[in-house]
Symmetry: C2
Subunit: 335 residues, 2 copies
């Protein structure tokens, strides 16, 4: 297979076949992949299909708490979970730069396989393209995800209602700051770990006790602030959140001060915002806290009829400020 990726590994010829057998099929050993057909044909399904896609261009490829492969599985699984879907299948498309160390690719593919097992999804279709040196930055991955939405589940960013309570599943900003501190070469006693994790298990636990959840969103690009603004806009409601209820890890706070960043705008890859009817909030908080990925969950605010489209942050000092949609250049290549 060689030590580095060559153009011929993407050619459809013998070397491409070797890469497929010795690396992709070895780690992602799904029967459908092994069949080497143009498309996977899967068992009959019956229900509402959920479908999503994301490309991953994160830089660096490896970071504390994850890597581009783990991210490519978690990000897409989470997008399905945010509609209440049970994730079933992923596709994976790789764009490799000629000269990429084969060991890096192997580490990424092994990580995808492990994360897919953790999230209980099957990677059933794939594709590899190789481009010349300088035509891509090492490795890009696209995943698309297919899931099924169980009957009775109707979750949408349009469904927030005045009176609803807003929950967040844990501390915010970990992923963004893990990437940024790594990129800037900042060293802490213990490096900030990305929160990168598949949230489908947490969501299924939540929906089991409260199928009437109104909104779920994972707080990725643009962080908590962007997601709350999107929901306020799409549901045409006002949102108020309380700063002291939002958990930010101490190292993230410190790094944010150093880099001039706001943790409320920093990306997360394993945190969700849930907007729920008021009578379900305390039960859901309990269920979330009982799950390893929701141990630090809090109720951070509420939905109002007033100031539709706007998100207001109440500080610990009793003042309040508008939490705007992020503008201009955010952190690039964070996922």
């Amino acid at each position: 297979m060689g030590d580095t990726v060559l153009l011929a590994h993407g050619s459809g010829g013998l070397l491409a076949r070797e890469l497929l057998d010795d690396l992709f099929l070895r780690y992602l050993g799904d029967d459908e992949l092994h069949a080497l057909e143009d498309a996977a044909v899967l068992s009959p399904i019956d229900g509402r299909l959920a479908l999503t896609t994301d490309s991953y261009v994160v830089q660096p490829l490896f970071f504390p708490g994850g890597d581009i492969g783990k991210l490519a599985v978690c990000g897409t699984v989470n997008d399905l979970a945010m509609r209440g879907a049970v994730p079933l299948y992923l596709t994976a498309g790789f764009i490799l730069e000629e000269g990429l160390p084969m060991a890096d690719l192997e580490r990424v593919v092994a990580s995808m396989a492990a994360t897919a097992r953790e999230a209980d999804v099957r990677i059933v279709a794939g594709d590899t393209k190789v481009v010349g040196r300088g035509a891509a930055d090492r490795l890009f991955i696209n995943t698309a995800g297919v899931g099924i939405v169980p009957p009775g589940i109707h979750i949408s960013a349009r469904n927030a209602r005045p009176g609803d309570q807003i929950l967040v599943s844990g501390a915010v900003g970990d992923h963004g700051l893990a990437i940024m501190t790594q990129r800037h070469g900042l060293r802490f006693e213990s490096p900030i770990q990305s929160d990168c994790a598949p949230l489908s298990g947490l969501v299924q636990a939540m929906l089991a006790v409260c199928p009437g959840v109104h909104v779920l969103r994972d707080a990725t690009r643009g962080g908590l602030a962007a997601v709350l603004n999107e929901i306020a806009g799409q549901s045409r409601v006002g949102i108020t959140v309380h700063e002291e209820a939002i958990v930010v890890h101490e190292a993230v706070s410190a790094a944010c001060e150093l880099l001039g960043l706001d943790p409320l705008y920093a990306a997360n890859e394993g945190k969700l915002v849930a907007i729920v009817p008021p009578d379900a909030a305390s039960t859901l908080l309990e269920v979330m806290r009982a799950h390893p990925l929701g141990a630090e969950a809090t109720i951070i605010g509420e939905v109002q009829a007033a100031h539709p489209g706007a998100v207001v942050l109440r500080t610990a000092f009793g003042t309040q400020r508008l939490l705007d949609m992020p503008a201009g250049e955010l952190l690039p290549r964070i996922c």
Copy 2:
């Protein structure tokens, strides 16, 4: 929106929203896309799901007969069609290089929209990432496709049987040579046009008269030779094809001689190989020829029990040679 793509167009902030509204949603105006949810939730479906993905890195982005956007829809639709699936939904993931002219992106997205309409598929989920100058070569697209396989259809590269007839839907090598002549700056009186086309309509016409088709494959990377070798290997059969029955356009022949290429190894993006029970061959040939995308269809050979795994080419002079699996560096970035 500006004249060129900026890093901030991929940030999840206001410019990203503008790009989404003013370009992607304007052309790809599907209700599910407009909903701007983490995942599309679609109507209930009932049946065997077909799922596939491909990334497109073709260079140049625009070529006679097509562009990367048309290719990104056709390639994935065709992979679904090759399992006998009716294509329903596509996802589209864009990786843009900072500085890409917005007019190029617009032309590509408009082309995707037109091709999706032609192929009768909906683009229901998408994603855009922007990377810095030099971190990608202008524009890469990934599409994943979802289809449903009708009852009674069982098409697989493993299903070729001794005695089966082999049909090809038209002339081979057009796409590969359209790209290569463009790349090498070769000028002909009329440039070679890529055959890039969605084959789902042709396949549905074929399956309507003969649901018992054994194998369908589109002859993309590695061309007709690679596909025949894959089928011979996966079905553990021998294959013999007759050179004089394989249609090659005159301009493609001429360009191949000039460039030292073999049209049987050159990529196609709108040609399929069908392997069918002998009693169905002539009916299928008629049906294919009656379809605009199969007008030049021919029966090119037959499947044998002898020499399993090998593909033999009988020349017009009565000699025969082994048509090997392509080795080494084929044409890179042909799709």
